[in-house]
Symmetry: C2
């Protein structure tokens, strides 16, 4: 009964571990909790003698019946997307994933963030076509039904708006939740057809270098994509977490460019025009450029940088006195896998490696976790991610110093939460 | 431009490959399509010259606005669970995941299969407690809020009802969809607290060998679980694909026993009583036993066997003439990872290895895929899975021969679809 003995040992040896309040053994053995909560007075009751005598109402009468499509519990009604639409233009703006109310790495389809430029079109799939034309030998048009006959693949990938976390370039830290700051970020299992397959059928001309993707929304959202990416891991996605893509994610199909900024993953995808040059579409000149200190803007910056954010604890949560807490958050990189996440509880003086939840997938959200004994004194929590290419998340000030004051795309700096002695959590710049 | 050249080469060399109609290169390079569809007259149009001139309605007016919690497209309204409730007992029975209408490996939360014994309780999480008692030094009661303070872990695992595919023991093959046959099966990313952690805090007595799990539904569904499993990978799951577990999956918490039959993963988990013996609860004597040829029933058979099913094509789909088709399906094992899936198109005479979609995870659904050139003659498709322990999916007749005629739990035999010359698909026993 080795496991039983281990369980006992783990529970009875609830000491505080390494410096910084991190538990040493939790650092070594990811996912195994060792510093008991029960002993430190955190609300666990000794079970009463008369267990079962006071059965709750819901054990006394039959529950409700089956449903053909389920919804979350009514007790979870506050777990919803937060909408920020442009005044007078209800289909233009964003809605954010409430990251601070979720767990794991997959985003439920109903809570995937939205960014629309002219609302969500209601497309009849039997009338929708994907056209591939331009510098190809055979311009082709694919119905949804035809695409469904192609070999498919599934990949778990994040999609992040390039404007996500953009408020970090404001002079003062915005006091809002982790989802409010970073919720233009979601992660799904996407299934569809590799774009290289379709381009192969159309047969590219020698001079082909770019592909312009256009959506079938009323904004005809358009972006230029390097051909190299289209022949790499780009996908025409038809399914999201098992079911057909949701309307707000591009039903019946979207372009998926793993690791590239969200808006390039054109939703309601309608046309792919193969070209020699990028098209300088409205959506890549009026938006989605990086404003530099000299007032000029850099165009065609696609890759989302290596990044992480602590989700628990974060603004809006309250610590309940000194004792055990798990610090957890999300890390991701447009360039591949996360190789390391370090956590600091003293504003960046000391760092400890967090455990990464397996499987750690390329261009997907990775959950990191670290056990922490809070001594009740003010502390500043930060996380710093490194990806497999060796890129390290920069400090906020290093990020800010590169850009004009009003640049807000592609923020990937280190974030900070200050835990006050009274247990409240504040957003701080460090 | 190496990739560009490869795309051209792939497309222009659309020959039929290895024997059995499988494409040789697809066998070698998973996920890369090589035998062009466009050339073989399957409904892909040459794109018109006047692309864009006939814009659809939805490009002419703004779409609808943002939503706080999204739903699938109205065009997908037929993608729903199929309910089979006991007459006069609306909360007792099952609803099935429509596997044949889904893709990838994750099941969307709204379509996770259901099996209830007395309906879905509507539990107020602030009034729910998990009690651990019996052969422990410290009986403990955990509120939802307290459990949320514990270290969590995330695991992608399938849950399968032990009655799934039970109709395969009927004398004649049931003519229904792949979901109708196998849809008591779903797969999610579950997040929660390792049960070993909580048992460690309660401190097990030496004589502890079993744990009886009880649900807070009106059936008080109860099952005995070997302690060994509780100290291994068992979890108190609080989240499912990112959000709080759905009511029909056990909100606010369920027991998750990866690889064990569905009903042991007790929903609305309320009590864990540590015992020396199993309890012989109603739900493990009246149900969930294996009926043997001698009329006796075997109890406490927990592990779901290695299994696979072809989902595409399957009953209800029609082949559109000879040409390219992708055969795809799902494989899984209660004992660990899938190591191999073989596919036959000639009723089991020849077999070819399918490509497995990465990451191949332990006790999770694995999608397999294989390119096939159908020559238009009647064919019988079958799939055979092998797991990392070396267990191989048995033939249907080998499975049937072990049991009494009315036994229907734990069916994991090989399944067959007959493709007729007219393209219809029939369920057959081989």
């Amino acid at each position: 009964m080795e496991k039983r003995d281990r369980a006992k040992t783990d529970a009875s040896s609830g000491g505080v571990g390494a410096g910084n309040g991190f538990d040493r053994r939790t650092l070594l053995r990811a996912g195994v909790f060792v510093a008991g909560i029960a002993g430190i007075g955190s609300g666990i009751a000794q079970a009463a003698e008369s267990i079962g005598a006071d059965a709750p109402d819901w054990m006394k009468t039959p529950g409700r019946s089956f449903s053909t499509y389920g919804m979350p519990s009514k007790w979870q009604e506050k777990v919803q997307r937060t909408i920020a639409a442009l005044p007078g233009r209800p289909g233009t703006g964003t809605s954010r994933t409430p990251l601070h109310l979720l767990e794991g790495t997959i985003t439920p389809n109903g809570l995937h963030f939205e960014r629309h430029h002219n609302g969500v079109p209601d497309i009849d799939p039997s009338r929708h076509e994907l056209v591939i034309h331009g510098l190809v030998k055979r311009p082709l048009a694919f119905s949804v039904e035809t695409l469904m006959r192609y070999p498919m693949e599934s990949q778990i990938h994040f999609v992040e708006c390039s404007g996500n976390s953009g408020s970090f370039n404001q002079p003062q830290p915005q006091q809002t939740t982790a989802g409010g700051l970073n919720g233009l970020l979601s992660c799904s299992e996407w299934t569809g057809v590799r774009l290289a397959t379709l381009l192969g059928e159309a047969e590219l001309n020698r001079e082909a270098k770019w592909v312009v993707a256009e959506g079938a929304d009323a904004a005809a959202m358009s972006r230029s994509v390097p051909l190299e990416k289209c022949l790499d891991d780009a996908m025409i996605a038809l399914f999201q977490n098992g079911e057909a893509i949701r309307p707000e994610q591009g039903y019946p199909m979207r372009l998926l460019l793993p690791g590239f900024e969200g808006n390039m993953n054109v939703k309601w995808l309608r046309r792919l025009k193969v070209m020699e040059q990028p098209v300088n579409a409205r959506d890549e000149t009026s938006h989605y450029t990086e404003l530099m200190p000299n007032g000029k803007a850099r165009q065609y910056m696609f890759l989302q940088g290596v990044k992480s954010a602590i989700i628990k604890p974060s603004f809006g949560m309250n610590m309940k006195g000194p004792g055990f807490y798990e610090i957890s958050g999300l890390a991701w990189s447009g360039s591949g896998r996360i190789s390391k996440v370090e956590v600091s509880t003293d504003g960046g003086k000391g760092w400890a490696p967090a455990a990464l939840t397996a499987p750690v997938l390329s261009k997907a959200l990775t959950r990191f976790r670290l056990a922490w004994q809070w001594d009740g004194r003010p502390s500043i929590l930060m996380s710093r991610a490194t990806d497999e290419k060796g890129a390290v998340q920069p400090t906020r000030s290093a990020w800010v110093s590169q850009y004009a004051p009003i640049q807000f795309y592609h923020f990937n700096g280190i974030q900070g939460w200050r835990i006050e002695a009274d247990g409240t959590v504040k957003h701080v710049y460090v």
